[in-house]
């Protein structure tokens, strides 16, 4: 960790062959999964160089997902928060309503090529579960989604969507009954059914090659943003802002700008009641290094190495770990990580909805809230791009509950 700063310059050589980003990443799983992960890595390496595979992926992203997603100047909201001009990368307009589908389309194509007939996934807010159930329905594959019992309660709409799409949603009642426990259960399923099952991990975490593979499928966000901002402004943005749970929408936006030092990166974690209260989901801001779910990374853990429970209004950020590349970007100083509280995120949620007619996901509202703060400190000549990673329809019940309204 200490040598990280000395080595930073270019990130292009990361991860190494075995999936290490400096001291982070790697492959920390039980023996049974080691060979299947090798096979996955080989297939992924092979097909990411296969013109036919890449053409099919591009076609799916265009015709099924609806890409490219617009880069929208939020003029009224920018005016309201004051200062820099804020653009929104509209991942909320993707099919299924979030960036998650970019990755599930890619992994599903890979699953098909590898001859797998069954898909499993974990989900927190339900967006990745819906995106997995969607691609499974389209390819006629069996799909099982693991979801924490607590999350099932607060994301009822997405649970119903997954079931309509033909997926089996398994309620996970162990541990804290949230995303981390859903991941544990998905890993238990995979180790049992590894012969016919493809595990679609929804974020840039997990054992190698998942962090790099999911990143590669999500960088379409940043590649498009780069072209779109050059077209709109004739120059690169000054800052990119994205929320970070596991960190896939953030890496997807950041990575194509990694060697442009003039572009600052801000990853926004779930601050819950405030980092100082201990009730939050901000491992990069307030955690320490450890090993969980197949990789070494920053974790929320106690002094005995037990994983702590997390708190965030947003189910998609309610996770005690984070992708290993973010851990590395933090240590090298290439990206800054900050936390936004539940209350601040809710303010941004309402602010954007009222000024722009766009209802953002609670996850993305964290990024919006920080972008608003940042914009206020910058002049009007500065440009910020926020990844609007998902739409807020799924959160309507949470918001209504807070407003004391029954729907």
């Amino acid at each position: 960790m200490t040598q990280a700063t000395a080595e930073s310059a270019s990130q292009e050589n990361y991860p190494d062959e075995r999936g290490h980003f400096g001291p982070y990443g790697g492959r920390f799983v039980a023996e049974t999964l080691m060979l299947p992960l090798d096979e996955l890595n080989q297939a992924y390496r092979k097909y990411m160089k296969d013109p036919e595979f890449l053409a099919e992926l591009d076609e799916d992203l265009a015709q099924f997902v609806g890409r490219p997603s617009p880069l929208y100047l939020a003029a009224r909201w920018s005016e309201q928060v004051g200062g820099a001009r804020i653009y929104l990368k509209r991942e909320d307009l993707n099919h299924t309503g979030a960036h998650k589908i970019n990755n599930t389309v890619g992994q599903a194509l890979l699953a098909k090529r590898m001859g797998k007939t069954r898909i499993i996934a974990e989900t927190g807010a339900g967006q990745h579960g819906v995106a997995s159930a969607t691609v499974a329905a389209r390819l006629g594959m069996e799909c099982v989604v693991y979801m924490g019992a607590e999350d099932i309660k607060r994301q009822a709409i997405n649970v119903y969507r997954m079931r309509m799409l033909g997926a089996e949603v398994v309620s996970v009642k162990s541990g804290s009954k949230t995303l981390k426990d859903a991941l544990n259960e998905a890993l238990r399923d995979w180790v049992t059914n590894v012969d016919n099952t493809f595990y679609i991990i929804g974020t840039v975490a997990g054992p190698h090659p998942y962090p790099v593979m999911v990143r590669d499928f999500q960088t379409v966000i940043g590649r498009e943003t780069r072209q779109q901002i050059m077209q709109a402004e004739g120059r690169l943005p000054d800052a990119l802002v994205a929320c970070v749970g596991g960190g896939s929408n953030a890496i997807g936006l950041f990575h194509p700008f990694i060697d442009d030092p003039s572009v600052a990166f801000y990853g926004v974690e779930g601050g819950g009641d405030g980092v100082e209260t201990g009730r939050h989901a901000a491992p990069l801001c307030a955690g320490s290094s450890g090993v969980l779910h197949g990789n070494r990374t920053y974790l929320m853990e106690d002094s005995d190495g037990q994983i702590s429970e997390t708190h965030s209004i947003s189910a998609g950020l309610d996770y005690p770990g984070v992708g290993p590349e973010h851990a590395w970007l933090k240590d090298t100083g290439r990206a800054s990580y900050v936390a936004i509280t539940d209350t601040e995120a809710l303010d941004a949620f309402h602010g954007l909805t009222r000024t722009e007619g766009i209802i953002p996901a609670l996850e993305s509202s964290h990024a919006l809230a920080y972008a608003g703060k940042l914009a206020a400190t910058l002049g009007k000549d500065k440009i910020i791009v926020v990844n609007l990673s998902g739409r807020g329809d799924k959160d309507i019940h949470t918001i209504a509950d807070l407003d004391g309204i029954k729907i």
Binding site: R18, G26, R27, F28, V29, A30, E31, T32, L33, M34, L35, P36, S174, G175, K180, D181, N184, L187, R188, V191, T192, N193, V194, D195, S288, S289, G290, V291, L292, H293, G294, R296, L299, E301, S303, D304, G305, Q306, I307
Partner: protein
């Protein structure tokens, strides 16, 4: 010679196979563990595998998950587990004790500091489920320095290349996971295990223990016919779960089961 190596050597010269019961330390309460360890030794356990409770036991089925949760309700830490072994060693200096668990509690303690403390407490071997040989270089070196054996897993998906990798880093014995799945599942296929072990013997001279899916004297005997050691966990932990309200009766009940398993191991079929 390490206590584990000595124990396997003694068993071999007596033409016997090892029985290794697993319990989770601190389940259902911290005071149960040491008396239970002694009771299992008296009933015929050759080595003891002591589970270190972890909040996210990804490789375990519901029975051992619940055991971890019971122990963690009492805030049983890795430090506490070492204390239990230290207490056990006051009256038993022969029976090897192996810690089985996940990497993070050891990672957070620090490999080197942990290994010294573990050796001082009388621990003989460590098996970390989520640490494959590829990531284990530093860990293994630290354990070696403290004369602690590093036990690694092999499984039905392990090929010859992986068997070699594990053989190079493993000491004490190798733990073969009998099927693809989590602890406590009922998927044991003794013929498949025998085939794989025959292959494995070409890659290592270390003793081979087999675990996962062994639930009674009969299956223990079948596995003992092909393996050097038989590991039994979920069946015992399930009995603890059933006796949560009568913790005083746990040692005697489990001792009876261990004795039955012992008779199975001693009559390999």
């Amino acid at each position: 010679m390490s206590r584990i190596k000595q124990r396997f050597a003694d068993l071999k010269s007596a033409n016997r196979k090892a029985l290794i019961p697993y319990i989770t330390a601190g389940d259902p309460q911290p005071g149960t563990t040491v008396p239970l360890m002694h009771a299992m030794v008296a009933a015929g356990a050759d080595l003891i595998e002591l589970g270190v409770p972890f909040s996210d036991p990804m490789a375990d089925g519901p029975v051992i998950q619940a055991a971890c949760e019971r122990a963690l309700e009492h805030h049983v830490t890795l430090h506490n587990v070492l204390d239990m072994v230290r207490e056990f060693r006051q009256t038993d200096t022969d029976t090897p004790v192996i810690l089985m668990g996940y990497l993070n509690p050891i990672e957070v303690w620090g490999y080197s500091d942990f290994s010294q403390a573990a050796a001082a407490a009388g621990i003989d071997g460590v098996l970390t489920v989520d640490l494959p040989p590829e990531e284990a270089g530093e860990f293994t070196a630290a354990m070696r320095d403290a004369a602690i054996d590093t036990i690694f897993l092999l499984s039905p998906t392990s090929d010859g290349n992986r068997m070699d990798k594990v053989s190079q880093l493993a000491s004490g014995f190798i733990y073969y996971v009998s099927f693809k799945g989590v602890t406590g599942a009922n998927r044991l296929d003794v013929t498949a295990v025998a085939d794989k072990l025959a292959d494995l013997r070409k890659h290592t001279d270390l003793p081979v223990g087999v675990g996962f899916g062994i639930r009674d004297a009969e299956t223990a005997g079948q596995v003992a016919a092909v393996a050097d050691a038989v590991v039994v966990g979920s069946v015992l932990v399930k009995q603890i779960a059933d006796l949560v309200d009568q913790p005083d009766s746990i040692p005697a009940t489990l001792a009876a089961t261990v004795a039955e398993l012992r008779s199975g191991v001693d009559s390999p079929a």
